[in-house]
Every structure is written in structure tokens, then in C-alpha cells.
Symmetry: C2
């Protein structure tokens, strides 16, 4: 009934990454797989963290930034002080993300306008815009 462990190959298969990537993340202290002899065994926790890492990357965060974000999830039960510090850290991150989203929203609007303009030009020339 104990938690399952995964080999590096299984992890790579499941998340579409290379072994090099997982070893690299471990070296950068983003993952902490167990060891049996030399070989790595990834836990459920490692899977959860890896999922967050890959998500973070899609948002354009650096691995170092992600490492700090991950620390938000590993809460030190003993030190409440630590907790409220990470809390403010999370709020800062949130603000950054929101402003980034707003910028994106604006850029999207601009692009849409450009597209409408382009459509008009194409229409004038009697060319159908590719839907």
C-alpha cells in the first residue's frame, strides 16, 4: 500500500522530457528523487513538482523563479514566520502575473485591430481573407 515509485524512464515517458532534463532539475534542486543504490526513484511528490515546473516554464518563468515558487508549496510546519514571508512573496508573484496578463490583453486588442485593418485592405483588393 506504500506510494509508488517511478523510474527515470517512466517519468520521461509520462511528461515527455529527457533524462537529462530530470537530472538537470535535480542538480538545480527542483526535484529530490530518492536513491536506491545509484538509481533515482521518483515519488508522487516529484511528479507533482514536475508538473508545476513544466507549467511554470510555459509561462516564461526561469527555473530559478520556479524553484522559489515551488518553495511556496513546501510549507515548513514548524516555522510560521517563514509561512507569512512566503505569503507576501506569493502576492508579489500574483501581481506580476496579473500585470503580465493585462499587457497581453492589450497586445491582443492591438493585434485584432491590425487584423481588421488587414482584412479591409484585402477586401479592397478583392481577395478573400483566409478564415
Amino acid at each position: 500500500m506504500s506510494d509508488p515509485r517511478f523510474t527515470i524512464g517512466e517519468m520521461c515517458e509520462a511528461f515527455s522530457v529527457t533524462p537529462r532534463t530530470l537530472r538537470f532539475y535535480e542538480a538545480k534542486e527542483l526535484l529530490y528523487p530518492e536513491r536506491i543504490g545509484q538509481k533515482r526513484l521518483f515519488t508522487k511528490s516529484d511528479r507533482a513538482r514536475l508538473k508545476l515546473i513544466l507549467q511554470g516554464k510555459r509561462f516564461g518563468f526561469s527555473l530559478e523563479e520556479i524553484r522559489q515558487l515551488l518553495n511556496l508549496y513546501s510549507i515548513d510546519d514548524q516555522q510560521t514566520t517563514q509561512l507569512s514571508r512566503t505569503y507576501t512573496l506569493a502576492q508579489e508573484r500574483l501581481a506580476a502575473m496579473e500585470s503580465q496578463r493585462d499587457e497581453l490583453t492589450n497586445a491582443i486588442e492591438d493585434l485584432k485591430e491590425q487584423l481588421r485593418w488587414g482584412e479591409k485592405i484585402l477586401a479592397e483588393r478583392g481577395v478573400k481573407a483566409v478564415a
Copy 2:
């Protein structure tokens, strides 16, 4: 009444970039300043392009991606075919940006939940959450 030209120094001042950066962008064919002898003279058009470049970078686009985006703005008046091709390219880009924004929106929601959860924990322990 002719358009004003700007030295590399003026450009750096105006956009908070280094000369190296502007020369690099020229080498990568993102900018096309004129030349008077050896020296570069940046036009109004270069300023517009540079503004878009810096904006693009904030969205996490690579310089190569930005270069392609910039070509959307420099429309070849002779070849309409070219235009409708770039039009679809712009639509793809738009779709990518929208889905990226949506992902961000979700992540923001997740983070907010985490924060609400953290607040409760802090409250239970009698610690004020840092506003």
C-alpha cells in the same frame, strides 16, 4: 520638414537600451538605420520598430519570432499573396497569445486559492496576514 534622425546615443537614452543592443538588433535584421559615413542614423520607423521589439520581449517572444512579427507591419505593396499569408500568420500568433493568456488566468486563480488557504492557516495560528 523632412523626418528627424536620431543618433545611437539618443536612441539608447530614449529607450533605455545599450548601443550594443541596437547594433545587435541591426545585425539580426530587426532594425535598418541609415548610414552617413560609418555612423548610424535611426529614423522614425526604427523607433516604431524598436518599441514593438521591446514590447514583444516583455511577452517572452524571441528576437527571431519578433522579426517575423515585424514583417507583418512592413507590407509588400506589390504582392498581395504575401499579404494574405502574413494575415494567417498573424491569426496563428493571436490564437497562441490568447491561449497563453487563458493559461495565465487559470494559474492566477489557482494561486489566489492557495493564498486564501494560506490566510486561513495564518489566521488559525493568530498571525496577521501581511496585506
